[in-house]
Amino acid sequence: MISSGKDKAFDGLLIFLVALLSILCLLPMIYLIAVSLSSSAAVISRSVFLLPVETNFGAYEAVFSDKGIVNSMIFTVWLTILCAACSMLITIFAAYPLTKRKLKGRNFFLVMIVITMYFSGGLIPEYLLVKNIGLTDKVAALVLPYMLSAFNLIVLKSFFSGIPESFEESAFLDGASHITILFKIILPLSKAAIATLTLFYAVGRWNGFQDALVFISKPNLYPLQLKLYMLVYNNQMSEVAIVEGSSSAAIPSENLKAAAVMLATIPIVLVYPFLQRHFISGVTIGAIKG
């Protein structure tokens, strides 16, 4: 080709641009790691850039010795698993019957779901409902109100619909019930979709902030994001500091905040690359069918 030199320069430019953007994506996190591993004296003297200065794990030790933060982490891990399991189960329960075209009432239910994608009561009526049915300051307030995502439901329904009906028919003729078919045939064929949606639900709960801010006022039920917000923005260290509101309570240093933020980020960074392959197909199905 005549333009091969020009072509190479063009390729080089593209690689440079993408590399630059990727570095910009990573730099903030690298800086955060550097701060969390530096001594607080080094942070205060403004000498930390992208590598830790006077490397030590003191900040992480301090985070792990704060009972409030540790409890919140354990609670959030537990809550995330509970939420992802409940959400996934109810999504499966809803998605499977809706793939049956002849099911009476199917269209009614579909319309009922789609309406909620475009219109909602809004924050205050939702809050009043949670309050009126006595869920405020209960774990259930963090599980139930946003348990089922209409978007995820439509994605899973599309996925189930893509499974050839002949698989089910032979089982049905053998006398298998719908629930047997769902668990023995449909679910094993849908592992990728279920893994993706479980990840979405889990990440949603792990990152969830507003519902906790609105529904929860007891510090021992603070999920990690709310705990982190209190720590970073309100300089609140532990439950003791919150209850007493005393000025003598230790103000968290910058490297301690960085360590806490890192600890909240690590689980996501660890889980995500394994599921990347799956969620791309999940997002694409959602975009086409939803």
Partner: protein, 320 residues
Amino acid sequence: MHDSLVTSTPDSRLIRSTKGKKRIQYLKNNWMLYLLLLTPFAYFVIFKYAPMYGVLIAFKDYNIFEGVWASEWNNFETFIEIFSMPDFWNAFRNTFVLNTLDLVVGFPAPIILAIILGELKIMWFKRATQTILYLPHFLSWVIIGSIALQLLAPESGLVNIVLNKIGISSIPFLNDKYLWVGTYVVLGLWQSIGWNTIIYLAAISGINPELYEAAEMDGAGRLSRIWHITLPGIRPTIVILLILAVGRMSQIGFDRPYVLSNYFVTETADVISTFVYRLGIQNFQYSIATAVGLFQSVIGLVFLLVTNYIADRLGEQGIW
């Protein structure tokens, strides 16, 4: 009476009984499907439709002890009140300004990035950078906000330390009401640019490769191939996503503006979602806050319908 006469003829009774049998047979075959639907149905009724009923308090003087139904209607006084609140219009304006900037900056950026990624030839490099670029999407706004604070703080932030080193005085990225708007938009772009390329990349990979080969034969350069093949190829995707984005213009998330904003920037940072939270949850003005939320929902619905209608008229495939 006429009805009973008809049903009493033996013929029709026969039909009824087979109908009844059919119904029993249908239920025998399908009751499990309805059983499965029971919890999702209850979920939607309780957590989605009950709050929609609760919206009625926007039209009433809501008394928490009397409940939604028994509270007195107030002849749209709530709406008259919110329309006379300067803070409401401020939040309304900020919502549209921030969303417009997000759209202008954040909508074309992933398209450009997706086209660039699509042109990359070294596969491992493409895959590795994609992994990195998608990552910020999975970080919460509390985490991003905390990182932003560490990076951008006037005294201790890395960016300002570097600026000071090269002789520029500190820039208050998060504490100046106008600079804050820029910071908000850039952080949004940082979080979403990679993730939003996914759908475009899927569309690009769906374009027939023979088109590119034919164009190359005809002597078309890289840029003209992008312009004449890639862009028209992803045009339907762009239109649908644009409709959805414009349709969401009046909706704004809560976490991002709430976490990033602070006392100094309320004038440009207070948006509908944070306004509703402050009014309703912190100040217990339930009726007024609900009315603001409802107003936003209705505007959102109108936006969605209008943009879809326009797209339809222009001959593009809408979202329905």
